[in-house]
């Protein structure tokens, strides 16, 4: 029944999807945390920058950003991220860059909302018993914030996994592009869609269940 898949690198394409997810996941976590730190910092300039970045980036379609990395950064500005000749590696790196730029805004908002769930009274009480800034942050505020951040961050990660398909727009050989190729050449439309849908369910469902369970476990009951 699945003979028509012969000659297509199905596992390879999903492996690229996983790689895109992992690299851009780590990248957007780092950049998003930095942005969140700016957005809650006492320095007005950094707060302003964080706010503008988040409001601009999350209102631009990811497709625009990804297409820009290829047509703008690589073709016009010749920013090839260390792979000027290897087009495959270049496309992959540019896609990761685009995914990071976009999802960092959502990571930032998730973390900020986590910090916002900690009642101000917690910090005030901590200061009142004489803890200094570092102690207030590491002993009282951040442990509570981290716990409430798990659920929203999980949602960003799942969205990121699905959004890696947009890398197909610049020709990265991941699952979305392979599916387009298969449905356009082979006759088995339903079987192909079922396989790729199943692939994404396999990728996103365990993540959601596992992190959802974890998030519920560590959540602060108020």
């Amino acid at each position: 029944m699945f003979d028509f898949l012969e000659g297509y690198d199905l596992l390879g394409s999903f492996w690229t999807t996983v790689q895109l997810t992992v690299f851009s996941g780590i990248g957007s976590l780092v950049w998003g945390t930095l942005l969140a730190a700016m957005r809650v910092s006492p320095v007005p300039l950094m707060r302003g920058f964080g706010t503008v970045y988040v409001n601009v980036v999350r209102n631009i379609p990811l497709t625009v950003i990804i297409v820009f990395t290829s047509l703008g950064l690589a073709d016009t500005f010749h920013i090839t991220l260390g792979a000027p000749d290897d087009l495959k590696a270049q496309g992959f790196r540019l896609a990761v860059l685009g995914l990071i730029v976009y999802h960092a805004a959502f990571v930032c908002e998730a973390i900020r909302s986590g910090i916002n769930t900690v009642p101000v009274g917690q910090a005030e009480a901590a200061r009142a018993i004489g803890l200094n800034f570092t102690q207030v942050l590491t002993l009282v505020v951040l442990p509570q914030a981290f716990r409430s951040v798990v659920a929203p961050l999980t949602n960003v990660l799942i969205a990121l996994t699905k959004n890696t398909t947009i890398a197909a727009a610049i020709g990265v050989a991941e699952a979305g592009l392979l599916m387009k190729e298969i449905v356009e050449t082979e006759a088995q439309l339903y079987a192909t869609v079922a396989i790729f849908a199943l692939g994404f369910v396999i990728l996103t469902l365990p993540t959601g269940l596992l992190l959802g369970w974890f998030g519920k476990r560590v959540a602060v009951k108020r």
Binding site: I60, A175, G176, V183, L189
Partner: protein, 310 residues
Amino acid sequence: MSSVLYDIPGPKAKRRNLIFSAVFVVLFALVAWWAIKLMGDTDQWVWAKWEPFLTADVWTTYLLPALANTLKAAALSMVIALPLGAVLGIARLSDHRWVRAPATFIVELFRAIPVLILMVFANEYFSQYWSLTISSEVRPLYAVVTGLVLYNASVLAEIVRAGILSLPKGQTEAAKAIGLRKGQVMRSVLLPQAVTAMLPAIVSQLVVILKDTALGGVMLNFTELLNSRKTISGFFGNPIPTFIVIALIFVALNFALTSFAAWLEKRLRRAKKSTGAVLGAGTGEEPPAAHLNAGGVRGSFGDGSGGGGT
């Protein structure tokens, strides 16, 4: 400014903040200077590349018709997905397992599949089975709308479900106590209140739909805003300015919608007549309703969803 993280700054903290500001300004200026220089080196500041956007022709022949297509696809998707989502969302709350289970399956399945896959599938489906009724010119629009409806109906189903669950239990209990039937409780008590509670979340979802139409432009050659880039930059040879202008249009449009959602949410939270249940506008990528699965049901929704807690 005082927050959870820090107190009102004293003289020492003020000095430190000043140093941080200075370092930040220097870093930012360096990056900005590099970007401006890079654009200069590749002749992006040439006036001829920007001038077309000040002429009416470019707007009336390229940008506005494309924008109209974007808006048309988004509006159609929302109008079709909303009733579907409402049916699915209410079905998920049914007392009967044989209604609940398939609805849950459909919602969870379509939320797990990327929109791009759904769009590509719809495009191929229409070209294989409907090629006689749907010509190849309008097929991209059909495919984009179908893909967006399949995905967003399930997302909206979760929003509807969360909206109904966010209402205080007393509403159902009181309605049942005066003798209303199940359908009547849903129709005359829960839904009218839930609709107000979910308005901000629905407006935010419109932003997601609007952004996803661009995907159809690249993958299916749907003539929407991002796709008009090809014709404009092909005609005037100005890819970078075109990108910037199109991005700005998207930002302006979506920022207006996001702000409207935030305003609605704030207003609804303040309203004295309501039960106080409001579904937060969320952060725009995943619906606030997604917390329903992850974080369990809480009394008032939107607390942790980044829509600004109460």
